[in-house]
Symmetry: none
Subunit: 227 residues, 4 copies
Amino acid sequence: MSASPRTARGVETRRKLLAAAERVFADHGYHEASVSRITDRAGVGQGTFYLYFDTKLDIFNELVEDLNHRVRQAMSEGARGATSRLEAERAGFAAFFRFTAEHPALYRVVREAELVSPDALRLHYTRIVEGYIDGLRDAAEDGEIGDIDPTVAAWALMGIGEMIGMRWVLWGDPDAAPGDDADPTASGTREVPPHVLDEMMRFIGGALGRPELAGDRRDGAPEKEES
Amino acid sequence: MSASPRTARGVETRRKLLAAAERVFADHGYHEASVSRITDRAGVGQGTFYLYFDTKLDIFNELVEDLNHRVRQAMSEGARGATSRLEAERAGFAAFFRFTAEHPALYRVVREAELVSPDALRLHYTRIVEGYIDGLRDAAEDGEIGDIDPTVAAWALMGIGEMIGMRWVLWGDPDAAPGDDADPTASGTREVPPHVLDEMMRFIGGALGRPELAGDRRDGAPEKEES
Amino acid sequence: MSASPRTARGVETRRKLLAAAERVFADHGYHEASVSRITDRAGVGQGTFYLYFDTKLDIFNELVEDLNHRVRQAMSEGARGATSRLEAERAGFAAFFRFTAEHPALYRVVREAELVSPDALRLHYTRIVEGYIDGLRDAAEDGEIGDIDPTVAAWALMGIGEMIGMRWVLWGDPDAAPGDDADPTASGTREVPPHVLDEMMRFIGGALGRPELAGDRRDGAPEKEES
Amino acid sequence: MSASPRTARGVETRRKLLAAAERVFADHGYHEASVSRITDRAGVGQGTFYLYFDTKLDIFNELVEDLNHRVRQAMSEGARGATSRLEAERAGFAAFFRFTAEHPALYRVVREAELVSPDALRLHYTRIVEGYIDGLRDAAEDGEIGDIDPTVAAWALMGIGEMIGMRWVLWGDPDAAPGDDADPTASGTREVPPHVLDEMMRFIGGALGRPELAGDRRDGAPEKEES
DNA sequence: AATGAATGAGTGTTCATTCAT
DNA sequence: TATGAATGAACACTCATTCAT
């Protein structure tokens, strides 16, 4: 039923719908977001929506796909120029957290995807993880990290990033009691504090078999302090 | 409006409703789960629901709370008897994965809670993390692990468990292509393969500054030290 | 199904239910008043209600009946001892307004009765009007008032009392703009200002053919009309 | 959410809904009138209602407003051409009773408004009363009536009209016992008998200080007016 | 290409009433 | 006499989707 736009005007309308949908999904989640809210924000008639998308799920999936591209691009751009795997990892995480802070939609939309469109979620995570796996494999070949299983490690890294991002970016102030910040749209602009990022990288560095590369205060580390 | 049951019959009805709700939420998620589906499955009239719960959100929150208790109990029971922090960690994760496999509701309900009842989600994660933090602090005092920041580490562990659990328990077969397993109710009985658990623990062991305790094949650790 | 109470305890319970119903109907109106609210306020179980009343409409009708008795008693007590019809009228109205101020339920319940139980409403008004008619007839025989049709006059008096009561007792401050006092339960304690009562009685005095008896400032009419 | 119709079709649909609502509210009152009954009678889908009205209360308020305009227009049209205040009053009342007979909804809807939408009720009465007040003030300046307080008199007139209208128009036959006419839809076509209108106007004429202008059989007025 | 109108199945929730104890 | 449990029909309202223009 829906079709690709054939005119410049159509292309523009489709774009407006996607942009509006990102805002609306981010603000309200999938279920509370109504097609009419999307078309309202896009400034088009309700029927116009179905010119470009078959269903509400359709535009949602496209949006998840799009966010996936953008976050991966942000991460690899962030990591570009890093001179070691861990440096790349750190830069990638930093980019990921920055992206999350700027687009809290990512978290919300993606996590909601689990129930709404499980395939979209799997694809999203899988693609990011694949990037990790490749990087880890290269680093292992170069002896840069230990011989940890890259698949398991990649999923673990994914989980760390997700949870730290949720905790420090989405929730914000560590001391905020639950309930202090109930408005989900209000909390999307925090940063991961530097020491948290440091500790997280030390954690990851150790995990990957190169504690000394992550900077350290680690007990059994031969040269560095304590000695 | 809702009240606690005052008779045995009422207690039983309330229990049936909670059990039904767990099933229905797990199968369909919060939004697709309708009160009438819950009451149907519980075998009671629709109005009966409101004798014991004020709103649909109410029973959802109670369920999240309940699941939180149960998973934490499962984890600490699993970890009981461990002789080291890492052993406890491993046993705790194993218990967590087992619980997840038996109650896929946990994942689905909890993750959806983010949009439906953010406080419930935060409380859930925070409580589990607090358990981690205590354990890590004790272990650090005993010199069992490195001096990693316990809060950051705890959230990282939480994320690892979540993601590994999602990947290997909920999704099941690593090679299953997305789309092969779209029915969310069909995939709740997998186990985390032993080697994945092993690798995960090596990852965590390294992260916590005691790679050698986690068992290893690590490059830079020729024949364990510590001897 | 319902029965008269056979024990002192039952009499008491029935009384509690009626008292609770008056409060609840007054506060919420017929439709918003639920049986459970009534039983809650009465401090009895929900089922107990149906021991004494067949339906919600039943207790409502009984309440209207009861209020009717009470307001008529208040009015005739107020009027007792008056030495002329107009004095009696004034005292009766004053009593009526006082009763209204103390029991705003009267107005609300009675007016709602029009749709809920039209018979109850008619009976209520008719009974009060019959009292007026009798009084007017007597007064006419005594030459105390003009020979106005007592039935029409009685209904007119009823209407005047109702409207003045609504305007000055229920609504309160004459200058309050609509909306300033939207809470219907908050405005039941006003009084009809003395000059309003005075003017009203002058109006009625003239209507009944005895302007001079009502006190007057009437234009050029030292002793009746114009001549 | 609701919007003004943008096409002729929409205008027509909205009109049908209002007309249906007037019938349904008049027949059943606010609470028994369900949106689905309204849409059924209008011959549109249930959802269509919410295209033009936000809530059931919304259309109710609009209806009260509309009825207020119409009754005031009917009254001033009825009074147009009267050569004295009392003549105008009589014509106005006659128009009011005629309108009531043709639109019994007025009474029912407006009286129920007291509980449903108190502001609407106050506005309704206040607007009519303001018309009375203006007329009375003019008449007083012209010496046409006594110097009665116009505000109090206006509310009194409002009450008289309401009550006489209820008694003779809505209830119909004076001798009908309560219960004979329980169907509220069946009684909307009566007229106020001429002698009742006559007596009512004599009552009012006396009240306003000009008994002789209202026609009379008054004791102290041996051979009619003015001569 | 665009749109406003229309729909009807579906939602969470309420409540007068019945009944077993 | 008293009650808490249970019910199911009913309600106001929402929304993804279709369609005529």
